[in-house]
Structures are given as C-alpha cells and as structure tokens.
Amino acid sequence: MPEPVTPVTVEAQLTPGAPEGGGAEGPARSLWSDAWRSLRRNPVFIVSALIILFLVIVAIWPQLLASGDPNDCDLAHGQDTSSSGHPFGYDAQGCDVYTRTVYGARASITVGVCATAGVALLGGILGALAGFFGRWADALLSRVADIFFGIPVILGGLVLLSVVTSTTVWPVVGFIVLLGWPQISRIARGSVITVKENDYVHAARTLGASNSRILLRHILPNAIAPVIVVATIALGTYIALEATLSFLGVGLKPPAVSWGIDISNAAPYIRNAPHMLLYPAGALALTVLAFIMLGDAVRDALDPKLR
C-alpha cells in the first residue's frame, strides 16, 4: 500500500496560518504540485500522454485520418493485402482495415474512460465510506465486495452480456462497473484507514469538524492518490477486457466498429491473411500500453517511497 502522505502536506495542514511560499525553498509544494513536477520530467509520461492525446483526438474525429466509411465493404477485395490508398489491406468482408482500425479507437476509448469513471466513483465512494465508518458498514461492504470479486470476469461477461442485443457500448460499460468496483473500493478503503489515523485528522475532529468535512477536506486529498494510480492502470485493462469480450462475441456487436470484433473476425483466417488481425491487434496493444505506462508514471510520481 503506497503511503500517500508526504511530510510536506502534513506540515501544510498543521500550519494553516503560514503564508504560502514563506520557506527558503521557494513556494510550498503540495503532493500534487510535487508529482506534477516529476511527471513533466518523466519521458515515459510525456510519450504515453502524447499517444493518449492522439488516440482521444482520433476517437472524437476519426474523419481526420480516414476518409472512407468503415462499413463500406466490397467482397471482391476480401482478404487482399495492402494496395495504394489502402495501406493495411482489406479484411475478409472486403472492408478497408485501415479505416476500421482508425474508427475502432472510439469504442475502445469510450469504454475505457466511461468504465473507469464509473468504477472509480462507485468503488471510491463505497470504499471511502467503509474505511471511514468501519464497523458494520465495513464488514457489510467487504463481504459484498468479496462476492463480486469471486466471480470470474470473463465468465460473468459471457453470462450477463450474452442476452444483450444493444449495439451500443453501454452494456459493456455497465458490466465492467458492476464487476470492477470491488478492486477500487478495497484500495480506497485501505487508503482511508491509513490516512484517518493521522494527527491532523484527530486535530480536525477535536476542533469539531463534521464527518463530511473531515472526509472531504482532510482525508480525501490525502487518500485519493492510490485510487488514481490503480484507476489509470485499470483503464488500460478495461480496454483489453472490452476487446476480449468482443472477441468472444458478447462485447460490442456489429455494426459497431471495434478492434475486438475485427480481431475475432480475422482469427479464422490468421494463417492466410495475418494482416487482418495484426493491425487492429497492434492498435489495441498500443492503446493499452499507453494507459498502463501513464499509470506507471503517475504511480512513480505519487509514491515517494519508490523515488
């Protein structure tokens, strides 16, 4: 469990009256500005942030990179390799692999971002409440989390999503939130329990601060770092999970354009036309890689123990 509290923040909390920037070392630095300083100097962060920025732009405006329609296919070109104007060749249905790879970013990024936001909110709130109030709330929540934790994810997806006929991303997002929140709630719970024993929390309580004020103003800023780290890394894994579910036929469904669907469709032809599989798979791997690298960089910045 990373210790999110640096002496700097503790000091800042204990001396609220001290003017900012009073020390000889220049402006007082919080954990966050400290982390931001080290992030800006980290090449891994810069590279992954640039890749993610690029992917987000592609997800919002795929027309910028591909002029065609991803579902405009011509069977006559089925399995053809690259030709002029079609650098990645065609898939089995004669669709342009390049266009489909570009358009596939939208589904992956949407699922990743929305699922992570949902998981972080639900898991973060439940975990923080369990850690803060303890006793029966904690016991109840931990057992419920255990129940959801015990269900193998892919299997749960096969069962729950096999009945869904919607072609939007929302069933997949909802499913990931449903099974993903225990992971974050455990982290948040542990983090809150560590932080709530700090002197400044006791001080705030002695001064008569309400529970909500202690939780929001004192505990949250110091306990949220591990949640952010785990959520960033989880974002990448959720994208991979969406592709895996789509590969098994229960994630996104055509005519939705998704790397998972394309990889699944290409798998039977892998021997004769590996290009149909390798391009979407490469895009998928690059996306997941970027988010995991970002999470790694953020963890290094927020976890002073490892510096």
């Binding site: 015990g150 590969f247 998928l284």
Partner: protein
C-alpha cells in the same frame, strides 16, 4: 491457527452463498433454457412443460435456488440439458484445466520470480530496463492476441508445437497454452517481485546481514527473498482463480476441452446447471486459494501469528 481457519471457513459461507446466488440470478437472465433445446423450431408445449417440471423451472426462483443448493450438498450438480450429468462433465473438464493452470503457475513462479529478483537487484541497469519494457508489452497485449499470434508462429509457421491440443490434453501439449495463459500474470509477478526486492534490498536487516559478512547467496535466499515474497504470494494465490476463469479464452484458441470449453458450451446452449455448477466450483477454488495464501503469510513471516 485452528480457530483462525475455522473462523475463515465460516466467513466463506456468506460469500459462497452470495456468489452462487448472483450467478444463479445471472444465468436466469439468459432466458428460458428449454427454448434452446428445441433448436430453431417452436417447442411442443407438452414436452416443454414436462422439461420445465423436470428441471424445477416451474417453481419460483428462490425455491429453485434452494433446491439447487440442497442438491449440491449431496454432491449432485444436476444434469445438463442434453442429458450429461454435470458432475461427469466436471470430472472430464477440471483435470484438464487444473493441468493448464498448474503449467501457468509454474511459469509464473520460475520465470516471474526469477526475472523479478534479477531485475530488482540490478535496478536501473540495461537488463532491468529491458525486462521492464518487455513486461509492459506483455501486459498490454491482451491474452487472446498473444494466444492467436503464438499459435500462428509456433504452431503454423514454425511447426514447433501442434496448433491444437489433443482431446486428452497431455502435459507436453499444454506448455504453450500454459505460457500464453500465464503471460500477463507473469509480467505482473516480475514487476511485483522487482519492486518488492528493490525496496527490501535497502532495508536495515539486509544491511545488517551484509555487515555480518554473510555470503551474498544466503542474504538473497534467506533474508531478502523470504521477506519480498509476501506480496507475490498474495498475487499468485488470488491469480489461481483468475487463471482458471481466464482459461476460457486460452482454451478456446487452442481447442482445449477444459472448464472454459464446457462453460462456453453451457452458455451457448443456455444450460444453466452446467454454468452454475462450474462457476460454483470455481468460486470454491478461489476462496480456498485465498485462505491458503493467508496461511502462507505465517510461514513466510514469523511475526504474523494467527490466534
């Protein structure tokens, strides 16, 4: 120790009931299983009614669940809708998946911990950076892509292994699928061990051991590794359940007739006894693995005592 084990076993009961109930409800969402038996044609109402009565589908859901739970405790997991006894299916499928999981765990322990110790002791050196980049790549590529590409390269292009595993699934044919199944966890084990070893290498007790003049080999094995392995053991322990559940993808790619295959068939044919039965056993394995992990703590760290 004994009392602790009993308390933990008692705590498992609500989790076990919750998870099986959840799976039971999920499977029920899949729709009327008798409809799937008749294929594309509409069912004969009399046959359907008889089937519904035979499988207790005419009773309320809670009662169905209680009947099911009662049968499980008598060792009867019910009958799949095609007439096979689920217990027979399990006896055929579980040994295969256990073998596959075993191969995967061995890879995790030998390669994962080995690489982790090597890189943890040489932080910042080229080998450390190289392995770290490699683990990032492995984590980023989803298992189904790794599996398909490994099958293409080793199975078809180079012909080193058979691309598809025989019905009996001999151990020698499970090496490549096992490695594919382990790949992502393997990378996590490497990173976890590396962080843990690097952290402990700077600790006081290691400095003391060095100062005492102990040979390097003894310091690493007796002092460093034993203390560094606690988080790794936790990960591998919880991973057993995830591996068996995740085997569904690997088994599909390499055509292995294990738990994943049977589950997939069960879901495809909406055979709820198969799905619920297999998942129930998976959940038990998962819970027991967690318990064993907690007991192993005491072996690795004598300071941890269970009263």
């Amino acid at each position: 120790m004994g009392r602790y084990v009993i308390r933990r076993l008692l705590q498992m009961i609500p989790v076990f009931i919750g998870t099986t109930l959840l799976i039971f409800l999920m499977v029920n969402v899949m729709g009327d299983p008798t409809a799937a038996l008749c294929g594309d044609k509409a069912c004969d109402p009399a046959t359907q009614a008889a089937l519904r009565e035979q499988f207790h589908l005419d009773k309320p859901l809670v009662q169905q669940y209680l009947i099911y739970l009662g049968n499980i405790f008598q060792g009867d997991f019910g009958t799949a809708f095609n007439g096979d006894s689920v217990s027979d299916l399990m006896l055929r499928a579980y040994p295969v998946t256990i073998k596959l999981t075993f191969v995967a765990i061995v890879f995790e322990i030998v390669i994962g911990i080995g690489l982790g110790v090597i890189t943890g002791l040489r932080r910042g050196k080229p080998i450390d950076t190289g392995v770290l980049v490699l683990t990032l790549v492995v984590i980023s590529v989803p298992t189904f892509v790794t599996g398909l590409v490994a099958q293409l390269l080793f199975g078809m292009q180079w012909g080193i292994v058979k691309p598809s595993v025989a019905y009996e699934a001999p151990l020698s044919e499970l090496i490549l699928p096992g490695l594919v199944l382990a790949s992502v966890s393997l990378a996590y084990v490497t990173r976890l061990t590396r962080t843990s070893v690097a952290e402990n290498a700077r600790s006081d007790y290691v400095r003391t051991a060095v100062a005492k003049g102990l040979p390097r080999r003894r310091i690493i094995w007796r002092h460093l590794l034993r203390n560094s392995l606690i988080p790794v053991v936790t990960f591998i322990g919880t991973d057993i359940g995830a591996l068996m559940g995740g085997a569904i993808v690997t088994e599909r790619i390499f055509n292995i007739r294990g738990v994943g295959y049977q589950l997939y068939q069960g879901i495809l044919h909406q055979s709820s006894p198969t799905v619920v039965g297999f998942v129930t056993v998976l959940v038990i394995v998962f819970l027991l693995a967690n318990l064993i992990v907690d007991l192993l703590y005491a072996v690795l760290d004598p300071r941890i005592r269970y009263a």
